[in-house]
Amino acid sequence: MNDMTAIAIPDGSKPDHWATDQEVRWCPGCGDYAILKAVQRTMPEIGAKPENTVFVSGIGCSSRFPYYMETYGFHTIHGRAPTIATGIKLANPELDVWIITGDGDGLSIGGNHMLHLLRRNLDVQLLLFNNEIYGLTKGQASPTSRTGTKSPSTPFGSVDRPVNPCAFALGAGGRFIARTIDTAQKHIPTILKRAHANKGTSFVEIYQNCIVYNDDVFAAFTDKKNAANTQLWAEHGKPLLFANGTKGLRLNTATVELEVIDIIEGATEVVLIHDETNRMLAQLLIDMPFGEFPMALGVLYCDPAPSFETAVIEQNHAVAKGKKADLNALIRKGQSWTVHDAATHKM
């Protein structure tokens, strides 16, 4: 790369190298800043190259993200980032594509595309910033808002039930599902690295605090003071413990439900070991009602399957193999005849 260009990023780049000259225009204190920082920190760690990286977004606060990453970027239209990412990846599978979306963009107006992205398993990283509110349109209830959410569009409280993003992703056939928190600066890069390593749609839900329209909606489990008791960080092959190892999860085999048990004197034999390839366990962790249970975070499910663009390109190659792309021959196919001479018409 030409060192003269302002946007040349040296090998072993620092996070700052991934920032653009554009002024970041999120509200002061917005959780998006923390996520941006974490993504910029992750880029050097995964050995990303700016020219091979594309950030694609829809519409909403989170979707401004591409403007702040010194990579290729496409800020598209509401809900449609997965569709544009699909075209990009099918046209050039070498590109490393990240989709940035939110709860409204990804699960409401773009819910259909989310479903099909996940079932096809296109090789992209999808970061869903969930703040349970429409921020950019000034605070209406979103599809993840809890029942009873008061907002300008639901002044008497919302009456519809929210969607659980990770449950949606799992139901849609997603093969990599992770959950984290905007302020978990240590954990986000770990999860992003895992998401990046997975070949397929890596679905990462990030609880993101909207300081203006939905402040502290996640405080019950994001509050640092209480984090140990309210957060359960799942790690593959390790027991599902929280509260500094004093509590754990056990499967009640009679009811096929999880239950919280106290760990007495380190006796963890009955605690479930996290198996991220176990879809049933992922479902149980995702569905745990918060309060009675801690919030399950980390890589909840990872069971890789062939990615969509690989399958498409393999078929394209297989079908084309041995065939000559002769356009003149192609257009001459079909029911044909030759008129030899203008004077004699019969063939």
């Binding site: 260009t5 070498e94 356009l327 001459r332 196919k333 029911q335 005849w337 063939m347």
Partner: protein
């Protein structure tokens, strides 16, 4: 019966034994194989050297209840020794496989024309389903036409008896029996059809033999039956056509091949994002098979995803194409705006059908012109092209690719259900005669300072096309107003004015890079010009030809470039006293012409789901010339 009809036949205006052209319509139940029969009959006409044009007319229902009027499927072919431009105003011969087919089609038949009906299907049940209380064959209600009614079903069963088929399977050979008779009527060679049947039923030789036997029996029936009267042979000479290699081609096939050819000429791989919709699906089906030509086809989850993926592919450096019909194009509207503001190449094919809403999925119309030119939020200009016939689709598709890639713009290509399904003989071109227009991607990083993704060519105003993956040129684009040059978000008033003007001027400037409008027939200037676009080409051409043969001062202009319009069009229109605009809509091009040129364009509109008849346009020409003022 034959004797009585013979008298009637003699007294009617009718075909000579040696006509210039004949129009035959095959009509039957959806399950009777009429499209196949018509297609094969067309091929036999092509092989006999006739020029031809076809009009398949089938119901929206896949398997409508048997015997009902709404389940009738018809295929019309006009073939002859003269220049054929339409599927024909009125059939000369109607082959009706059941009462419903007779009922829904006989009204179109030319007075004195010939009806061939299968009485085996004229039982009480089928008559009732078609709404007849008495068989029309018996009550003299068909007196205006020649009727040849006999039990084709029984004759078919007899012919295929040796093959031991079940009754249902045996009766399915009826269409081949009818085709055999038709081949005899026009003195056609059976050999290619026999070869085709052997190939089609290669895995089931019994079915092949049964169908061939039915075909032969129908042919023999014509040869040996001493019915006389209406059943006789006609001789239709071969057309005087340019020597060369011909094939039959539908508009759907021609357009698909044109897109592939265009992509090759641009040096690009082609990406089609599409969602199934009538009558556009044949393009998806055709392109899905052409992977060795660098084609990736993607059947998306919906119309929006289809165009979204096409835009993504264009962004990544392929030729993005999306194909749909009016309702689908409506869904794509916002994404088309994104392609306009990000100034990416994109070809959007609209195979128009009757609207609004779901409208008439299988019937033709050209009522999406406003949608194409104006149908988006904001000032959102793009290029609009139209195809005028099945064979024309090939070159127009190439032109759409050229303009999209050379000017970094979406191009809307308007075709319609009639063109998509109709077939014509095509003098196949040599691709080596086409001038390539290779795309040059921008790869050079600026020596200093930032790269500006919206830097433009000073003359054409097109911006640079950079493929992600190119080192040193990382940049961001999107749907928010761009800063001139930089492409960064910019809300400034003066910038929006400048960008809106630039987008409009870029498209208008394309008028400098397209051919001047030509005159299809007649002089530049005079009493009347008939101005058309799209699939009205055939009937307008023939109507103007006929009017001019009668000494009338009328010319024909057919517009391919609908936006931007050719530079000389205004002057050309103003050189005529009167302007008549026939359209299969309520007057959309008429409005555009009035708006652009302040000319008194008069509409001639038809929205019946059927193409114009030549006679309808000729009558309008007469009326317009007779009108004072």
């Amino acid at each position: 019966m034959a004797t009585a009809l013979k008298d009637n036949f003699e007294s009617s205006a009718r075909l000579s034994n040696h006509p210039d052209a004949v129009v035959v319509r095959f009509a039957g139940d959806s399950g009777d194989g009429m499209q196949l029969t018509g297609g094969q009959f067309t091929l036999s006409s092509a092989l006999a050297g006739n020029d031809f044009s076809t009009f398949p007319d089938f119901p929206a229902e896949i398997r409508a209840p048997q015997g009902t009027t709404f389940g009738v499927s018809a295929f019309q072919v006009n073939f002859g020794s003269s220049d054929i431009e339409t599927a024909g105003d009125q059939p000369d011969v109607l082959i009706a496989m059941n009462p419903a087919a007779l009922k829904t089609n006989v009204g179109d038949l030319r007075p004195g024309g010939l009806v061939i009906a299968d009485t085996g299907e004229f039982g009480q049940r089928n008559l009732a389903k078609a709404g007849y209380t008495v068989s029309p064959i018996d009550d003299n209600s068909l007196a205006r036409w020649q009727v040849l009614a006999f039990d084709i079903s029984a004759l078919t069963l007899e012919a295929v008896k040796p093959f031991g088929l079940g009754n249902k399977e045996a009766l399915r050979c009826k269409n081949m029996w009818t085709l055999g008779l038709s081949l005899w009527m026009f003195d056609r060679d059976r050999a290619p059809l026999i070869a085709w049947l052997q190939d089609k039923f290669a895995k089931n030789p019994v079915l092949a033999d049964a169908n061939i036997a039915a075909l032969n029996a129908g042919h023999a029936y014509g040869e040996t039956a001493e019915i006389g009267g209406p059943l006789r042979q006609w001789t239709v000479d071969a057309a005087s056509v340019e020597p060369g290699y011909y094939r039959t081609i539908t508009g759907g096939e021609s357009l698909s091949l044109g897109l592939v050819a265009g992509a090759r000429l641009a040096g690009l791989d082609l990406f089609l994002g599409s969602y199934p919709i009538t009558p556009a699906s044949p393009i998806l089906h055709a392109l899905a098979r052409l992977k060795e030509f660098g084609v990736t086809s993607f059947q998306a989850e919906d119309e929006i995803a289809a165009i979204g993926a096409a835009i993504g592919a264009s962004y990544a450096g392929q030729l993005g194409v999306t194909s749909s019909s009016g309702p689908g194009i409506a869904l794509k509207g916002e994404a088309i705006g994104l392609a306009i503001i990000t100034e990416l190449p994109l070809v959007i094919v609209n195979s128009q059908r009757g609207g609004p809403s779901t409208g008439l999925p299988t019937k033709t119309e050209q009522s999406d012109l406003y949608q194409a030119i104006y149908g988006r939020n904001g000032d959102a200009p793009l290029v609009v092209l139209s195809t005028s016939s099945p064979t024309d689709c090939f070159d127009v598709a190439i032109e759409a690719v050229r303009l999209a890639t050379q000017f970094m713009t979406p191009v809307m290509l308007l075709t319609d259900g009639y063109i998509a399904n109709a077939a014509q003989p095509w003098l196949v071109p040599d691709m080596d005669d086409y001038e390539p227009f290779p795309v040059v991607f921008h790869t050079e990083a600026p020596a200093e300072g930032k790269f500006n993704p919206y830097q433009r060519d000073a003359e054409t105003l097109k911006r640079v096309w950079v493929k992600p993956g190119t080192p040193g040129l990382t940049h961001r684009i999107g749907g928010i107003e761009k800063g001139f040059d930089t492409g960064n978000i910019n809300y400034e008033a003066a910038n929006h004015q400048k960008m809106t003007d630039t987008r409009a001027n870029k498209i208008l400037g394309i008028a400098n890079h397209i051919p001047d409008q030509d005159i299809d027939q007649g002089a530049a200037g005079g009493k009347l010009v008939v101005v058309g676009w799209g699939s009205t080409y055939g009937p307008i051409r023939k109507a103007v030809e006929a009017a001019r043969a009668r000494g009338l001062d009328v010319s024909h202009i057919h517009i391919r470039y609908l936006w931007p319009l050719p530079k000389n069009l205004g002057d050309l229109l103003k050189s005529f006293d009167k302007i008549l605009v026939p359209e299969m809509n309520t007057g959309q091009l008429k409005t555009v012409l009035r708006d652009q040129y302040l000319v008194d364009a008069k509409p001639l509109n038809k929205v019946s789901g059927q193409p114009f008849k030549i006679a309808e346009i000729e009558a309008a020409i007469d009326a317009e010339l007779a009108r004072k003022g």
